[in-house]
């Protein structure tokens, strides 16, 4: 029986003449690769056979701590389906209307060919540089390409892919607030994966798996995740207690080994019950829930950070609702160019 191949498999394939020693990422220009011989180049899209900007790996979407977790198997890297493959150019193409500027695709491009333009839109560098050569997309070419991608992932990256600002986040949040429910968990899951975690997300329609996701961080922390885009963050803290109990009894994860995480669109207002309840949970149970916003996760990603909750770094409660200070330290920056209270991203809005 003849099985036809998708045209994408017949794309052009580029490989590098040499593996760079470092990669510099800045907004407005494609990533700059620096080579051993002192030269540098802005590498164009390699036309990957399995483009990392579009697809996560199977291991990314599973959580090694609990192998039997019934997770969604979707490996689409873009949480809002804004990226597709253009057969004609043999490169990814971004639907700017759908794109939420999260930067996941940008962060996953192994050569920085996907970058944020000055306008903050992801763009693909298609101008061939001196450092790449085109190959036939046969098996040998594909093997060499795959090997190079593995090497490229070890290349240190520096720089900030997108500069945060109030207007930028206002645009992003306007889009996020319009997203349908089905996109909420993928936004949370894929951001965590882009930030170095493994994250398994509950399948849509699975009413028996109550947590939205489980994750394990680069340093091995594990936890349940509740993702809350709505106003009622109390649901999230209640849900987390439920998740911790379920993971304890059904998967053997002790409550004190569960670094549970609430990802919310905006931090709850100061007067909302959430903050006090998070504190109550710490006082009574000794469990420190991490709380982080979607905007803060994006900021970490643009700044080349990982999500690592060691030492309960992201624990904030009634006595300290300030995420800004924590993110600032992690991103190694003096300040975050975002107004105080802006959209409740770094501190409560009210």
């Amino acid at each position: 029986m003849r099985i036809f191949k998708e045209n994408r498999d017949h794309s052009r394939l580029a490989i590098l003449k040499d593996i760079p020693v470092s990669l510099e990422i800045h907004q407005g220009i494609p990533g700059t690769a620096h080579f051993r011989d002192g030269g540098s180049d802005q590498i164009s899209c390699l036309g990957c056979t399995v483009p990392r900007c579009m697809y996560l790996s199977d291991s990314d979407i599973e959580c090694s701590h609990i192998k039997g977790f019934p997770c969604d198997r979707s490996v689409m890297a873009c949480p809002v389906d804004a990226i597709a493959w253009n057969d004609r150019s043999a490169a990814p193409v971004i639907d700017q209307q759908r794109c939420i500027r999260c930067g996941i695709c940008v962060s996953r491009c192994p050569v920085g060919a996907l970058y944020f333009s000055d306008q903050g839109e992801p763009e693909v560098n298609m101008t061939p540089g001196d450092s790449v050569i085109n190959m036939r997309p046969d098996q040998a070419g594909q093997d060499l390409h795959a090997c190079q991608i593995e090497q490229l992932l070890q290349v240190p990256r520096s720089g900030i892919s997108l500069q945060a600002s109030d207007p930028l986040f206002e645009t992003i949040y306007e889009k996020l607030q319009r997203l349908g429910n089905a996109y909420h968990n993928p936004v949370g899951r894929n951001l965590l994966i882009a930030l170095g975690c493994r994250c398994a997300m509950r399948r849509i329609g699975d009413v028996y798996t109550r947590m939205d996701a489980v994750y394990s961080s680069p340093a091995g922390s594990f936890g349940a995740v509740e993702i809350e885009f709505g106003k009622d963050t109390l649901d999230a803290s209640r849900g987390i207690l439920d998740d911790i109990a379920v993971l304890n009894t059904r998967y053997g994860v002790h409550k004190h080994n569960n670094r549970a995480l609430v990802i919310c669109l905006q931090l709850p207002n100061e007067r909302q019950g959430y903050w006090q309840v998070v504190k109550d949970i710490r006082v009574v149970e000794g469990i420190k829930l991490s709380t982080i916003t979607v905007g803060a996760l994006m900021f970490l990603l643009w700044n080349g950070c990982v999500f690592e909750p060691e030492n309960d770094r992201y624990y904030i409660d009634f006595d300290n609702m300030d995420l800004r200070h924590i993110i600032c330290i992690q991103a190694d920056c003096d300040s975050i160019p975002l107004s105080n209270g802006e959209l409740g991203i770094m501190e409560p809005n009210k």
Partner: protein, 571 residues
């Protein structure tokens, strides 16, 4: 009207499941629903009662197969996959077992998201077909093509019920019938009442409830959204008030424009063709679907050219819109393609081989029953509020009217079916007070107290989470979560004195529907945090209170402090 079933899964899950099934079962000559159920469960693509894999199969394994949730889940996927032309019956005469189709194989082996092929399969849905002879409708329509055209002809926005009255109920091969349908829909616009009347009349003519007709729109809307043809929009221009409508996207418009240029081959016309032309049409149909979906079919260009020559008298130079697997039986399709999908190993998986754990599951949600045999008088000193007095008066009146205790309970239970929290919370507090517990309810707007009521005790206070029947008739997982939160808050803030081992309660009108899940969560909470969560319904509380008031008999009150799980009381 076309009755689209409501399989309730979404695009990405469908793709994941077909890939899983194909990987596990493609070596078999055919596969059964049992094969599917086992593979889906073991692939962790379904869960039952919080468990995945073999445990899910054991927990689903009931005596009656039709109640086996793993098997029903497989059946649901089988239906949608057959509709999309990914699987098809192995035999000519029976729906099951099934085989993968040539198109289904491409979907399953796709390395991408195969959204374009998915779109082709959605466009392939048409009626009538040789596969759907027992359908309860006789519309002759390629629904999604017709729906896109209808959107465009109606200005781009439609309300879901217009789909039922329009493209789901038209013969789109008859241009006049199509135009009449458009005029009919236009004539409804401007008056929501007019639309409702027409929709209800349609439901009546079909012998269906309006809600069931409405449900028939779920699948087509989900498929159109998955293909990116329509999106949600709030619109007040169509019927005067704001309605959640659907708006065709640019991609939807472009899709219809490309379809309009194609030769749309339907079953009747196909059946009138001679066999060589039928075979050409099958090959052209399959290959053009794959080509439009971005597959490189250059290997069969010579065959395609030959088939185009064979069918040129009918389709001319047009592209062919014809999905053989969604229209005719597989034997004809495979003969034309020169393949046989029904060769391979024997089907080997059976859900029955997974020993049933249904009894274990059911044992989880056993409900304890409290006996009412301890002499007790109502604690009238606690019943000082006007709400308390009103309740006592209500009971006294019924006693004077000659009603028995059971009749009083039934009457009161019915009376409070529509109670809002303003009535229900005080009622629950009154009932506990009759039992001798100093119970206080939280007034509306009191955000400081997270619990809805509390039994105030010098050292063993009990927080109570209450759900009035207008909030939710059956208690749910949500109430249990809130009961746990109440306990933690009380221990942390010490507003009232309590001890960790004292219960926290959830009270509602009815016991939970999802008893296994609730019971399991209560058990999980006890194991993890050490707290007891007790659940009582209104009827039990009324029974205890009326028993005390009328018969002078109560229950062993100490049990309330250590209550864990679901409990009821009976005379």
């Amino acid at each position: 009207m076309i009755r689209f079933r409501n399989p309730g899964t979404q695009y990405s899950t469908q793709i994941q499941v077909i890939k899983l099934l194909y990987n596990a079962l493609h070596d078999q000559a055919f596969f059964t629903l049992d094969d599917m159920a086992v593979v889906i469960a073991q692939g962790k693509m379904m869960t039952a009662y919080g468990y995945a894999g073999d445990d899910a199969l054991r927990l689903s394994n009931t005596d009656q197969k039709s109640r086996n949730s793993a098997w029903n889940n497989a059946k649901m996927y089988a239906e949608i996959f057959r509709m999309l032309g990914w699987v098809t019956p192995y035999h000519e005469s029976n729906s099951y077992p099934m085989v993968f189709t040539y198109i289904g194989t491409h979907v399953a082996q796709s390395t991408g998201d195969c959204s374009k092929l998915y779109e082709q399969c959605v466009l392939g849905i048409n009626s009538p077909t040789l596969l759907t002879s027992r359908m309860r409708y006789d519309e002759r329509v390629r629904f999604f093509k017709c729906a896109l055209r209808t959107f465009i002809d109606l200005g781009g926005v439609m309300y879901k019920h217009e789909l039922c009255l329009g493209p789901m109920s038209v013969n789109d091969e008859d241009e006049q019938a199509y135009q009449d349908m458009i005029q009919s829909l236009k004539s409804l616009r401007g008056s929501h009442r007019r639309l409702d009347r027409a929709f209800n009349a349609l439901a009546e003519s079909l012998g269906m409830k309006p809600g069931s007709v409405d449900n028939c729109t779920r699948l087509p809307i989900a498929l159109m959204k998955s293909c990116g043809w329509v999106e949600d929009v709030s619109d007040r221009s169509l019927y005067g008030s704001a309605l959640d409508c659907l708006q065709i996207t640019q991609h939807g418009i472009e899709t219809y424009e490309s379809l309009a240029d194609m030769y749309d081959l339907r079953l009747d016309q196909y059946l009138r063709l001679d066999e060589p032309t039928q075979q050409s049409m099958i090959r052209l149909g399959i290959y053009s679907m794959l080509q439009r979906a971005g597959y490189d079919i250059s290997d069969v260009q010579a065959q395609v050219a030959e088939d185009r020559a064979q069918s040129r008298g009918i389709i001319g130079d047009k592209d062919l819109l014809f999905s053989p697997y969604q229209t005719i039986r597989r034997a004809q399709v495979e003969r034309a393609l020169g393949i046989d999908m029904g060769i391979g190993l024997e089907s080997g998986l059976h859900t029955e081989t997974f020993g049933s754990a249904v009894k274990d599951r059911e044992a989880l949600y056993g409900i304890e029953t409290w006996s009412l045999n301890i002499p007790e008088a109502a604690s009238r000193e606690l019943l000082a509020l006007p709400e308390d007095q009103a309740f006592l008066h209500q009971v006294d009146q019924m006693v004077e009217g000659g009603k028995s205790s059971r009749e009083i309970v039934d009457a009161l239970f019915d009376h409070y079916i529509d109670a809002t929290k303003d009535t229900f919370y005080p009622l629950i507090a009154t009932l506990f007070k009759i039992m001798g517990f100093d119970c206080r309810f939280s007034r509306a707007g009191d955000n400081g107290a997270r619990w809805d009521a509390i039994i105030d005790d010098t050292e063993r206070s009990i927080p109570i989470e209450i759900k009035s029947p207008t909030e939710e008739q059956h208690l749910s997982i949500k109430a249990i979560r809130q009961a746990l939160e109440n306990k933690i808050i009380l221990l942390s803030r010490r507003t009232y004195m309590t001890l960790p081992e004292v219960s926290t309660l959830a009270v509602g009108y009815y016991m939970p529907n999802e008893r296994a899940e609730v019971a399991r969560l209560i058990s999980d909470i006890r194991t993890t945090y050490g707290y007891r969560v007790g659940v009582i319904d209104l009827k039990s509380l009324l029974t205890i209170a009326v028993s005390i008031l009328v018969d002078g008999k109560g229950f062993e009150k100490e049990k309330l402090y250590t209550l864990e799980g679901l409990v009821n009381a009976d005379f």
